[in-house]
Symmetry: C2
Subunit: 318 residues, 2 copies
């Protein structure tokens, strides 16, 4: 089959990789639409030593599901994490933190930038008829955005700031806006600002914001540089949610976190069910983020497009 | 008056510093007993550029209080932070985070390693008769230990670990033990371990603990090295409370915090009222921590004693 292939940090387009063979309890999916995410770009920079097919944001049709044939032909979104169900984390109700999980297109499992992919049947979410592929393909990053609300109690009185208005920042902003909180989003690019304004969300530049005034700052820039800005905007006793993952570590003044009694909350993957529900009801509309569509054969060009400064969502079709 | 004096990171014993003159709303206190804290030692290492009399853990007698003469002659403990009452933080109910606060013996206000000190009357806590000076002198660090419970909901089912069994770690351990949680304290020195065991608290060495198993880890070593150990012991989605302040910053893998969805909670000063209440009722007994008593004139020797590895509380008398 045709796919993109990552090896030693180099991405290539391959015409003849063997088709995946679903293991027991797995389904074979035919990719309909897949999204390029910052993590895919970071994988290429060496964030994790993954070899295989990248891609974890995907809408697909179930091609075969030997153990659960009722799924065949259905349009689905698979979870990004495939847990073991038996380790201490799984038993503690934290399957997304399973210590032997595979992660679609990131660790231990080939991903979605391919004609076909194999995932556990248990990871499938069926899609309602009215939900378009171009909305449903955002289920995974929207779930990740919703994780902020799973972890932090955001109230209508919360003064919140999102730093970074790229692919993930836009979704975090839409989700926070639903709480009725006071919300400003630091956006560097006019296209990002226009998109936020079209959803009734205040787009600002860094210098528009008072320092040490936000109750909650979500750092979603995808870059190490976002941390310092987020920190400056936060009030004492405030909460800083970290959404960015990137290669390398950062010098952090932990004593200053103690003095200001800051709470840092690392935030990764979230719940798919509520994400699909919000998409279906139109309470979150990510389709304005779609910036370009490429065929799988033009996958390398799609990656280059996604790395442009300010680029929003780039999609891949089979 | 006689006092210890910190200037340019050098500590000296001075016989003839002018007595403090209380400003409007302030009281003049005569020191009865004062404790040496890790922060005092860090100040000498350049953690903050303070010049003046250090010392912020103190029991005193009110010598004069022109605006509130009913306080005169009373035995008191003063708060460490003196807030302005007018800034956004004070108005938001966060006086300990007042942006123009003075901090006794740390920033903007001479401290307690002196015969006399001046503090706002509003910062005074009267001491009940039955509470000995050697217990009450722990009010400030015990309040700081209680701040963990103000910030984190510790339940009887929480698996908690305290890393560091020095002055602050012992108090944090005693406070956590009151919740009925499962508790282990990483202690390097036999004296520390014996003291914990005498309170019915499990003292362990680093290698006794399973990695990634604790729900809550409190880092109270006072050293940058404590962070890595605390991080290793913490389960995914766990909470790491930072109590240490020291000069300099630390390389932190923030992406790993995101992947494991760790919450870091900076924790500084806490509530004096509950601290005094626990001391009065004997639910916390810090007196076993007292390792040595020095006169103010021997203050330099007291500091040297306090820097010994594993040293617990060193007290200063007038």
């Amino acid at each position: 089959m045709r796919c993109l292939w990552l090896e030693g940090g180099a991405l290539s387009s391959r015409p003849d990789v063997p088709e995946p063979r679903p293991a027991a309890g797995e389904a074979l999916l035919r990719m309909r639409l897949a999204g390029v995410c910052a993590t895919d770009l970071e994988l290429r920079r060496g964030y994790l030593p993954f070899t295989g097919v990248p891609g974890h944001e995907v809408v697909a049709t179930v091609e075969a599901a030997p153990s659960a044939p009722e799924w065949e032909g259905r349009r689905v979104v698979p979870e990004i994490n495939a847990p073991c169900g038996a380790c201490p984390e799984c038993r503690a109700g934290l399957p997304r933190h399973c210590r032997s999980r595979s992660v679609l297109g990131i660790a231990g499992r080939d991903g979605a930038f391919a004609e076909l992919l194999a995932v556990p049947v248990a990871s499938l979410h069926p899609l309602p008829e009215g939900l378009a592929d171009e909305a449903a393909v955002f289920a995974e990053p929207l779930a990740a955005a919703l994780e902020v609300l799973e972890q932090v109690h955001v109230t209508p009185s919360t003064r919140a700031v999102v730093v970074g208005a790229g692919r993930l920042g836009q979704l975090v902003a839409q989700v926070l806006a639903l709480t009725g909180c006071s919300l400003a989003v630091v956006a560097r690019h006019e296209r990002q600002r226009a998109l936020l304004r079209s959803r009734g969300i205040e787009a600002v530049e860094e210098q528009d914001l008072a320092p040490r005034a936000a109750d909650l700052v979500v750092e979603a820039t995808g870059h190490p540089s976002g941390f310092d800005l987020a920190r400056r905007l936060l009030r004492p006793r405030g909460t800083l949610v970290l959404k960015s993952t990137y290669a390398g570590s950062l010098e952090v003044d932990l004593s200053a976190l103690v003095v200001d009694e800051i709470t840092l909350v690392g935030s990764r993957c979230g719940p798919f069910g509520p994400a699909l529900s919000l998409l279906e009801r139109g309470l979150v509309d990510p389709t304005g983020l779609v910036e370009a569509r490429y065929s799988l054969d033009a996958g390398l060009a799609a990656f280059e497009h996604a790395t442009r400064p300010g680029a929003l969502k780039v999609l891949l079709r089979p």
